[in-house]
């Protein structure tokens, strides 16, 4: 349904401004090439998750009563997670299905903002002090976003 909607948007754009539609398709292909390694990585992680992260283990390590270590794991995983976010939604949905608490999903997603591989580039544009301070506050707010979602997460719908 979502993909069909986007394809429809392309169709409308092509009718109104064919050049821009062509340019968008031309921009999509290298983007797909860039995302492909991340997709393979996510697939590999999903296979490992199915093999080793049984619902019981996920519940114990990342569930409601998993303790502070789980929050560190989620923040660390978010900080090193690479590439666009949408492939990671699939893995997180799988972990949620197995019992990962919504708060830790929120922590991981927020901690992704650190963008570890891009830190040298940020330092180049804005300076090392800015980069360090900003990264520190992002990690602090990753923890806060987890607390917020813990408050609201109990009524979260699980994805089908």
């Amino acid at each position: 349904m979502f993909l069909a909607t986007v394809v429809t948007a392309y169709g409308v754009t092509a009718l109104l401004e064919a050049d821009k539609a062509r340019a968008a398709v031309a921009a999509f292909l290298p983007m797909l090439g860039m995302v492909a390694p991340v997709l393979l990585l996510v697939l590999a992680l999903m296979i490992l998750s199915e093999r080793f992260f049984t619902p019981r283990r996920v519940e114990r390590w990342l569930g409601r009563d998993s303790g502070p270590r789980a929050w560190l794991i989620a923040a660390g995983a978010g900080a090193i997670a690479t590439g666009p976010v949408y492939p990671w939604y699939a893995l997180l949905a799988e972990l949620r299905r197995k019992g990962m608490q919504p708060a830790l999903v929120a922590v991981l997603l927020y901690a992704r903002a650190v963008k570890l591989p891009l830190l040298p580039l940020m330092a180049h544009y804005f300076g090392a002090p800015f980069t360090l301070v900003l990264s520190g506050w992002i990690l602090a707010f990753a923890w806060l976003s987890g607390l917020v979602m813990r408050r609201f997460g109990t009524r979260t719908q699980t994805a089908s």
Partner: protein
């Protein structure tokens, strides 16, 4: 250890079962991945369409009417952004050079990578609608808070 929980879905393994075989794990993972793939492809198509229709350079005209306005505009623009974060760094650098405040630029950078209004449909489908909406709304608020705290900390340290 007892009986399987009554709330466990039929066909699901009991807590005492060992992990599945590699083959079963691969089949399940590929099935889950295949469900998500159309959404990922759709997101990539949407991102390339948006970055073509609204080039980042065109956004500079929105800024320059005072820090308060710039911070709000930056947070909103960043939350609607769909390109690589590096594009945000370049745009942020251009805005700084034009005299836009560091607080506003920081809000742009943070909301660019924490708020995903363009990705919201994908997040809602895969992680739940309420979760996606609540999380992104709070991230928008946090982007402004992180911006002021970052610049405030830098001034304190300096």
């Amino acid at each position: 250890m007892g009986e399987p929980s009554a709330s466990r879905p039929p066909g699901d393994r009991s807590p005492t079962d060992g992990p599945p075989s590699w083959r079963k794990s691969a089949v399940r993972a590929v099935r889950g991945f295949a469900n998500a793939l159309p959404i990922v492809i759709g997101m990539l198509l949407l991102t390339s369409l948006l970055t073509t229709l609204v080039p980042p350079g065109s956004l500079e005209r929105l800024f320059g009417r005072g820090e308060g306005w710039d911070v709000i505009v930056a947070a909103v623009v960043g939350s609607l952004a769909a390109g690589h974060p590096l594009v945000g760094y370049v745009l942020g650098g251009e805005l700084l050079a034009r005299g836009v405040s560091l607080v506003a630029v920081t809000a742009l950078l943070v909301s660019w990578v924490t708020v995903g209004l363009v990705q919201l449909p994908a997040e809602a489908v895969l992680l739940g609608r309420r979760f996606a909406i609540v999380r992104n709304l709070w991230c928008l608020v946090f982007a402004v808070m992180v911006a002021y705290l970052t610049v405030g900390t830098l001034r304190l340290v300096a």
